[in-house]
């Protein structure tokens, strides 16, 4: 088949010949008839010979118009006009050896200029910017806002059960304290009511045993400072501490307790360095009728005198030359008697058994140096002596019978030495009995009593009045024949400043003598507690620049051990306290009235 293809508008190439079986039509430059129209595919259709005529077949999805009718395949005869997207192809019978003549009349409006053929700016691309915008917007709104809002209405527990719903950590505004961190996936643990700040009940659900700050019976709980746990405890900011430590929180009341409305004996304080009262100490005093009485005394007061009833000169024990001990001269240090408790706050109690008895042994019989009387109870002491000498008498009698035949058996002796002028101590029981001036005509019981009481009186008066007890204790006669002496009760002060928390462990790098002038203390009545000036050598106020910055809670606790627990106030049903403590708006009575 030979064709002549003529282009009606073309200026540079009016016509070309074709010799083949299939004519291709499309936008592609490799097509037999090229139509540079962007709306057309590279290959739009194929024109092929069928019998005498021509048949035009389009590619998938395309169509053309023949004589006004839209078709996909059509046999063409002379005179037919094919329209492809406005471009006209007129089929004419050929001559001069051509089978057909095709006039191509391109619609110039449709022919695309070079510059318009391809998108040449971002705005011409159907960029998914709008879709991306919506996707991002809805995704974030969905996760961030819709989930918690839906949770408000149906409960977060139900929402969390839905697959792919993240846990509440998504809304966590900051790190939780390490003890609360495990609750970070569930906000409603603490935030029980939407759009309401965490309430005290929410805290007290777990923290029931936290104690109140002051005597609620005396002051009531209706005051501003203890109404909200959140006043002092701020979550979501630190893993270490959520407790406010600024002194302003305390000084809002403690700058003037009267003004704050508290009839308190506490003196005002606003800053450790600049405005803090000097220290007071709690002192004990024994009153026979009332027992131990506690009084608070200023450290600088004239009447300051410890009345522990113990005789103990620190200076002798801490002498640089040392002191006679069991192993010869010993040089003692503070830590030989004073050790911090586990945790390092207070010092362990000093006890006779642990700290004194190595040197101060309660022996009573030089010949039996391993025998000691018990410490702490005169009746026990007397009973021990009686039992000891009764046993000696009993044992000595039996031995005497035997010794009559075998000769006297020597009692074990600790030492032969004796003080000049004293006679040798009797070594056999018969001698001792003779020495005791027991009437040999008396009954055995009378002999025994006389012997035992004589020996006990001798040993006890030695212990109580001369050698042992009286070294440390104040002894007086009791008038009781069974226990003729009494010891004034002793109580060592273990809590001089019960409202302050001082950590000995925290100060272990310091010299004890820096605060306690024990080396120069001759009397146990001297109080060796340091005053505030001693602390101020190192500790300043909250804003100190050249001293350790110290605020109220450095030394003082807010929740006091001797006050009732906040949780207990709820449980006890103390209505006023609860309502005030928990900041409930109205009392039950008011609600009843309103109804």
């Amino acid at each position: 088949m030979r064709l002549l293809i003529r282009y009606i508008q073309s200026r540079d190439k009016a016509q070309h010949e074709f010799d083949g079986s299939v004519v291709t039509i499309g936008r592609g430059t490799d097509q037999t008839i090229q139509i540079a129209d962007n709306s057309l595919p590279l290959l739009h259709s194929k024109l092929s010979v069928s019998g005498k005529g021509l048949t035009l077949t389009v590619s998938d999805g395309q169509s053309f118009v023949v004589n006004g009718q839209t078709v996909k395949k059509q046999s063409l005869i002379d005179g037919d006009v094919v329209e492809i997207s406005g471009h006209k192809l007129k089929i004419l019978s050929g001559d001069n050896g051509f089978d057909y003549l095709i006039d191509v009349d391109l619609d110039s409006d449709q022919i695309t200029e070079l510059k318009s053929r391809f998108p040449s700016g971002l705005k011409q691309i159907k960029a998914p910017r709008r879709k991306l915008t919506w996707a991002l917007f809805l995704l974030l709104l969905g996760i961030g806002l819709v989930i918690p809002v839906v949770g408000l209405y149906v409960g977060m527990e139900k929402v969390r059960e839905i697959p792919l719903v993240p846990d509440d950590g998504v809304w966590l505004t900051g790190e939780l304290h390490q003890t609360h961190a495990y609750m970070g996936d569930n906000c409603t643990h603490c935030h029980t009511e939407a759009f309401t700040q965490t309430k005290n009940e929410d805290c007290l659900t777990c923290h029931q045993s936290v104690n109140h700050h002051f005597d609620v019976e005396k002051f009531g709980a209706n005051n501003q400072i203890s109404n909200d746990c959140g006043d002092c405890h701020k979550e979501h900011s630190s893993t270490d501490s959520i407790t406010r430590t600024d002194q302003a929180g305390c000084s809002s009341c403690h700058s003037d307790m009267d003004k704050a409305g508290f009839d308190s004996e506490l003196r005002s304080a606003t800053d450790f360095l600049d405005d803090h009262p000097s220290f007071m100490v709690s002192m004990h005093e024994w009153e026979a009728s009332k027992g131990w009485q506690n009084t608070r005394v200023d450290l600088w007061a004239d009447e300051l005198e410890e009345k522990s009833n113990l005789i103990f000169p620190h200076d002798i024990h801490m002498s640089e030359q040392g002191i006679d001990g069991m192993q010869g001269v010993e040089i003692l240090s503070c830590s030989d008697c004073h050790e911090p408790e586990k945790g390092g706050m207070k010092m362990k109690a000093v006890t006779m058994e642990q700290h004194c008895s190595d040197c101060h042994q309660l022996t009573f019989d030089l010949d039996q140096p391993d025998r000691v009387v018990p410490h702490g109870s005169p009746p026990d002491l007397m009973r021990t002596l009686r039992e000891y000498y009764a046993y000696q008498f009993l044992n000595g009698d039996t031995q005497t019978d035997a010794s009559k035949e075998q000769g006297d058996i020597e009692l074990p002796s600790a030492r032969e030495a004796r003080r000049p002028g004293r006679v040798a101590r009797p070594k056999v029981i018969s001698d001792m009995i003779v020495n005791a001036n027991v009437d040999s005509s008396a009954t055995l019981t009378e002999q025994a009593n006389a012997y035992i009481e004589g020996r006990v009186e001798q040993a006890a008066s030695n212990l109580f009045e001369k050698q042992t007890c009286t070294i440390c204790h104040e002894i007086s006669k009791s008038g009781d024949s069974a226990v003729p002496w009494q010891v004034k009760p002793v109580k060592l002060n273990e809590d001089w400043m019960p409202l302050a928390e001082f950590s000995h462990g925290g100060h272990k790098n310091m010299q004890c003598s820096g605060c306690h002038d024990a080396v120069n203390s001759t009397e146990s009545s001297e109080v060796l507690m340091p005053d505030i000036t001693s602390c101020r050598d190192c500790h300043g106020g909250e804003d100190s620049s050249n001293l350790l910055q110290s605020n109220c809670v450095t030394c003082h606790a807010y929740h006091l051990d001797d006050q009732p627990s906040m949780g207990a106030l709820i449980e006890s049903g103390n209505k006023d306290s609860i309502h005030n403590l928990l900041d409930l708006d109205r009392s039950t009575d008011e609600m009843v009235k309103e109804e």
Partner: protein
């Protein structure tokens, strides 16, 4: 115009923003909350409120500054305010966070805000640098001018090719018809050239029109007589076409880079609005 919004009215908004930022930092350093600084202190709430209002206002400005000559103020003024006040948000919002960040919706909002601002910085840079650069590449012609020049060359080429053998004509026509530029997102951004040419019935890549020129030069070496002259002319003309297309492609690439930031700036701005809403509401749900 390209840099003037930067120094609009003596940099009025620059100084306002700078003063605003410095003041915020001073107050931040001065304030002593009873807890570590965060969005929940009095200053945190203050900065948060200011920041949120500013974000909404800047979003409005983003729209407003495109409405040329409409209402009060000049477009230049609005752009200047948008840029400088937007920049100051980095300081305002960072102080609002108290430097507390985490894997949560709140930090997402902050990060989105930063992305919006930094993409905006790129936009400022783009508008300051690329228009000039493009103008230099185009030698002060418009892109349309260059396209017209190409069209003139194309006609010249086709005319010359008409005088040569059919296969040369086919190659030239094919190269002209299959010349491409621009295209999709990445094509524009990277200045990809997907031009092709059919040589001996095979369509091959014609990157930078190199293949067709090489082919024509090859044919030139084999040409004789009158053909040599025409072919040499054809090669020369095609070289000119190659240069013009190169300019077009560079211009498209630069203009794509110049505008690419908006494809991030705008969607992320709306993401920010969603995250901001979630941030604010959730904070008060779980107060």
């Amino acid at each position: 115009m390209s840099t003037s919004f930067v120094s609009h009215q003596g940099g009025r908004y620059f100084w306002i923003s700078l003063a605003f930022m410095v003041l915020s930092i001073i107050i931040y350093a001065w304030h002593e909350p009873v807890q570590p600084p965060n969005g929940g202190t009095w200053y945190g709430y203050t900065l948060g409120t200011i920041g949120a209002v500013m974000i909404l206002w800047l979003l409005y400005l983003g729209k407003r500054k495109r409405n040329f000559a409409n209402g009060w103020g000049t477009t230049k003024g609005w752009v200047s305010a948008h840029v400088y006040l937007g920049s100051s948000l980095i300081v305002i919002a960072t102080l609002h966070t108290g430097f507390q960040f985490g894997w949560n919706i709140h930090t997402v909002a902050y990060l989105l805000m930063c992305l919006v601002i930094f993409s905006g910085f790129f936009g400022v840079y783009a508008y300051m640098v690329f228009p000039d650069a493009r103008n230099k590449v185009k030698k002060s012609r418009t892109r349309d001018d260059i396209f017209e020049e190409i069209q003139v060359v194309d006609q010249q080429l086709k005319k010359l090719a008409g005088n040569l053998s059919e296969d040369i004509g086919a190659i030239v026509n094919s190269a002209i018809d299959r010349t491409e530029f621009g295209g999709g997102f990445l094509d524009q951004l990277l200045g990809r050239d997907k031009s092709k040419v059919m040589i001996d019935g095979i369509i091959v890549n014609n990157n930078n029109q190199d293949v067709v020129i090489e082919n024509l030069v090859q044919k030139l070496t084999l040409a004789t007589g009158q053909e040599t002259k025409v072919l040499a002319n054809l090669v020369k003309e095609y070289g000119g076409r190659q240069k013009l297309l190169g300019v077009i492609r560079t211009d498209i690439r630069l203009s794509a880079i110049q505008e690419i930031w908006l494809s991030f700036h705008v969607p992320i701005s709306f993401g920010l609005i969603a995250a901001l809403a979630a941030h604010i509401v959730s904070v008060f749900i779980y107060w």
